[in-house]
């Protein structure tokens, strides 16, 4: 029987964070993960994270994963891969399957950070090949470099559906629609807007009636739902599609915890006390295994579990514990605010904290109407080049403020506040804000660059990268062609972290309407 101070199950964001934090306090730590590669979902998160600097905002998930792995090596954490924790037995014994045998390990603290599994829904044909979880599609694309299909319908407009939907576009798939049974888009408006300006239609209050095909998916039929969530006859819509992605929520992988006898709450999540400690002494839950949230909070949750265990095991004095706890819980609190915070789930807010009306168009079609833009403090007319920040919901994020060298953008201490553009500051057009925004919601507009023309700089994450002089079409927020547009330049810089800054020339009156660009004629 091998013994560690702490055993962590799961080498994802929560588990690795727990491990490195614990190791930094002197604990001997082993991490087991069933996958061949560490990082959990981080290495398929090719998008930039939200939050603030302390949450590693504007960093892409896989870069966060790489940094965490380096930290694990530096702190001497033992990471064992291809190692399935098959059971969590009495006396904090973890039995691990590795290779052709099982091994018995014990630890004074066990952190279960096993992540989540994807939910599914049953409809006619849902067992056909071609129906898959959105996370599975993401793994195929971003880990295995396999395109899941050519024409995809996404069910679910939460952040997973929206983010994966965009990545499907990046991978060269056609996204025929995003459907959701709910009447409002569930994820961040900025994520929806990325899809809408590429022309992806949203069907709210819709669900899948059936997947068509024999042997594999060849089509899908969706239907509108009435107030009792029943399909409205006559509202059926058919799409040719070879892939249906389901992004209908996640469930904690808390089986090990329940096997160990950890009490559960009424909603089925494991009951967690401060530091993620469960009802079974010495056993902790962190990340999605403790309750579905997202990677940024999972990483903090992992660190909290680690300091709790470190204190319990005598590696951390009470004073340091209290200070660290306050710091980490503060970080967590700053993420758990705004209209998407756990405590606000299910509440249909009508306006932002600032009193700006929420756009019903954004919630229903995925984009802001042109006449709504002026309602938000990030969208102000100004002379010369200036940022236009189409960030209209209270989400925890402030890189735009952090990166601006001129102080043009202010979010303030409360990171869910809407960014405000300071007209008195001088924008140099450096574009750092455009590249930094994880929601790709910042644009540079210069309506005075050339007589009769405006230059619009937009974030661009598609291949091939356009070249100066390329002719094409500017698309509006809803993906509709608005005018011909020529590429003025497309800048890539290491500071932009793989987001290109595409500057297009459009007629002046299109400066506040053109938000995407497509090569070729409309």
């Amino acid at each position: 029987m091998s013994h560690y101070d702490m055993i962590v199950v799961g080498a994802g964001p929560a588990g690795l964070s727990a491990a490195v934090q614990a190791a930094s306090h002197g604990l001997r730590v082993a991490v087991f993960d069933e996958n061949a590669r560490p990082g959990g979902q981080l290495f398929k998160q090719i998008h930039k994270f939200f939050g603030s600097k302390e949450h590693m905002a504007k960093t892409r998930g896989f870069n966060i994963g790489t940094a965490l792995l380096q930290e694990a090596r530096d702190t001497g954490v033992t990471v064992v891969l291809d190692a399935v924790a098959v059971g969590l037995y009495p006396n904090r014994e973890v039995v691990v399957r590795a290779g052709g045998a099982v091994r018995h390990y014990k630890a004074d603290a066990v952190v279960v950070a096993a992540g989540a599994s994807e939910n599914t829904v049953a409809f006619e044909g849902w067992t056909l090949p071609g129906v898959m979880g959105a996370g599975a599609a993401q793994t195929m694309m971003n880990i295995n470099r396999v395109r899941p299909g050519k024409r995809v319908l996404m069910l679910g407009s939460g952040n997973v559906g929206l983010v994966v939907g965009f990545q499907l576009l990046q991978a060269g798939c056609e996204l025929v629609a995003v459907a959701d049974a709910a009447p409002r888009i569930g994820g961040y408006g900025v994520h929806a807007a990325k899809l809408a300006r590429c022309g992806v239609p949203f069907y709210l209050s819709h669900t899948i009636l059936r997947a068509e095909g024999t042997g594999r998916v060849t089509g899908v039929v969706i239907s509108e739902l009435d107030a009792q969530w029943r399909p409205k006859s006559g509202s059926e819509k058919h799409f040719d599609a070879d892939t249906i992605c389901l992004a209908v929520g996640l469930s904690p992988m808390n089986q090990l915890l329940r096997m160990a006898g950890c009490a559960v709450r009424e909603n089925g999540d494991v009951l967690c006390y401060p530091f993620g400690e469960t009802s079974v002494s010495g056993i902790y839950a962190a990340g999605d295994a403790a309750g579905i949230e997202e990677a940024s909070s999972a990483m903090i949750g992992g660190r909290l579990a680690a300091i709790g265990a470190a204190h319990r095991l005598g590696y951390l004095d009470a004073q340091t514990l209290a200070a660290e706890q306050a710091r980490l819980e503060g970080m967590l609190q700053s993420l758990r605010q705004g209209m998407f915070a756990p405590q606000n789930r299910g509440k249909a807010a009508q306006s932002t904290d600032e009193g700006c009306p929420l756009s019903s168009s954004l919630l229903g079609q995925g984009y802001l109407r042109d006449d709504e833009i002026a309602n938000y403090p990030g969208c102000k007319q100004a002379k010369g080049v200036h940022p236009v920040i189409e960030c209209t919901q209270n989400i925890p994020c402030n890189p735009c403020q952090d990166v601006c060298p001129k102080g043009c953008i202010r979010v303030g201490a409360n990171i869910v506040a809407l960014p405000v553009v300071d007209k008195t500051a001088t924008c140099t057009g450096c574009g750092l804000c455009v590249a930094a925004c994880p929601g790709q919601a910042v644009f540079l507009v210069d309506e005075d660059a050339e007589p009769g023309f405006a230059l619009v700089t937009l974030p661009y994450e598609f291949l091939p990268i356009p070249k100066a002089g390329d002719k094409g079409t500017a698309l509006g927020r809803g993906g509709q062609p608005v005018c011909p547009a020529e590429v003025v330049r497309c800048k890539s810089a290491s500071a932009y972290d793989r987001t290109s800054l595409l500057t297009i020339r459009v007629p002046k009156e299109m400066g506040m309407r053109a938000r995407f660009w497509k090569g070729g004629a409309a």
Partner: protein, 375 residues
């Protein structure tokens, strides 16, 4: 709601549910009280499914033989649910001369009681089950033994009894049986009280505490036994399997999973946290036991393991029948890990006794007060 019935049964396991069914078939009203929120949550759903006669204590053998002859064959039809009864024999395997000596002893005792069981050699055993390891040198063979699906049998009895009008109440923990004018009559559960002309106590190990309230001791302990279940495999063999050394026992179920029970040897001393928990060393031990006899199963995957308490009586056979000091009370508990196969017969007997009818079998060997000091 009327809390009075002809018979109040405590425990909705296979014994209580079977008794309830046979009583409703006779036209009696029945209330069944179950402390768990789930039916059959004790040993009734947590057992290896053996419907064996061989290897039984001679006192139990008549019940086992009666069930196999009269009850099991028609049970699925009678209850309107396929309970996956499969009567294709029991092989008890031996690898050494010592093993064969043990098997011979068991076989001789059972044969003396009239059971058709015999010793067979390795070739005969391999004819019956071609997957046996080369190390097997002989076996005992009882062709009339078999197995059924324990998860279904209890629910099938429940379903049919309920359809016949029996009232089952789960999550109803019995605190006490009370006498009225010298006769067991009242069953107290918190705020609720139930009354019956006869009370049947079939609550597994829980029967001990309830009986103690009446001044009756049923000398039982619990033992935590563990079982593993494999992925589904094509049909390989249909016999019930055991070994002379009791390394493991089990069978392949109708849907293709193998169900193998066994022990690590520490069952009497294992700790638990109030739940029937698996222990980390047991499943590996069962695997080694199985592979020692069936090497072909080495690549078969285990999908789940589970544990369950058995209620072990001091002399390893149950207490069944009336209690002299408590007229109106019948007990049926302490089945010591082999109650499933005899449950239909025991249910029949308890229903007859509760109804005042003469049961088909005499059960005085199972008197609750049979325990005497060794000298």
């Amino acid at each position: 709601m009327n809390n009075t019935a002809d018979v109040i049964i405590i425990g909705a396991g296979v014994i209580g549910s079977a008794t309830a069914y046979y009583l409703t078939r006779k036209g009696h009203s029945v209330i069944v009280l179950e402390k768990s929120p789930f039916l059959g949550d004790g040993g009734s759903s947590r057992n290896g499914g053996g419907v064996r006669q061989s290897g039984r204590d001679p006192r139990e053998l008549p019940l086992a033989m009666y069930g196999v002859k009269h009850l099991w064959p028609g049970l699925s039809e009678e209850l309107g649910m396929d309970v996956e009864y499969c009567q294709s024999g029991n092989l008890r395997l031996g690898k050494t001369e010592e093993h064969l000596a043990i098997l011979r002893g068991l076989t001789d005792r059972a044969a003396a009681c009239g059971l058709g069981v015999s010793m067979i050699d390795a070739a005969q055993a391999r004819t019956i089950c071609p997957y046996l390891s080369e190390e097997v040198i002989g076996a005992s063979w009882c062709p009339t033994d078999g197995h059924a699906n324990p998860m279904l049998v209890t629910l099938a009895y429940y379903r049919k009894a309920r359809a016949n009008g029996a009232r089952f109440i789960t999550g109803q923990r019995v605190q006490a049986i009370q006498k009225v004018r010298g006769q067991a009559r009242r069953v107290v559960c918190g705020d609720e009280t139930f009354e019956g002309d006869t009370i049947v106590l079939a609550a597994g190990y829980g029967s001990r505490a309830i009986a103690a309230g009446l001044g009756i001791d049923l000398p039982m302990n619990t033992l935590l036994m563990e079982v593993l279940v494999t992925e589904e495999q094509p049909p390989m063999f249909s016999q019930m399997l055991g070994t002379a050394m009791a390394d493991f026992y089990g069978h392949q179920s109708k849907h293709g999973s193998f169900v193998f029970g066994g022990s690590s040897g520490f069952e009497a001393h294992n700790r638990d946290d109030g739940r029937p928990v698996n222990h980390s060393i047991t499943a590996p031990c069962i695997c080694r036991g199985v592979m020692g006899y069936f090497p072909a199963l080495a690549g078969t995957k285990i999908v789940r393991t589970w544990a369950g308490w058995l209620d072990e009586m001091a002399d390893h056979i149950p207490a069944i029948g009336p209690v002299a000091e408590v007229p109106g009370l019948l007990v049926g508990c302490g089945f010591s890990g082999h109650g499933f196969g005899i449950a239909p017969a025991v249910g029949t007997v308890l229903a007859d006794l509760a109804a005042g009818d003469t049961p088909p079998l005499e059960v005085s060997a199972f008197r609750y007060d049979r325990f005497k000091a060794k000298l």
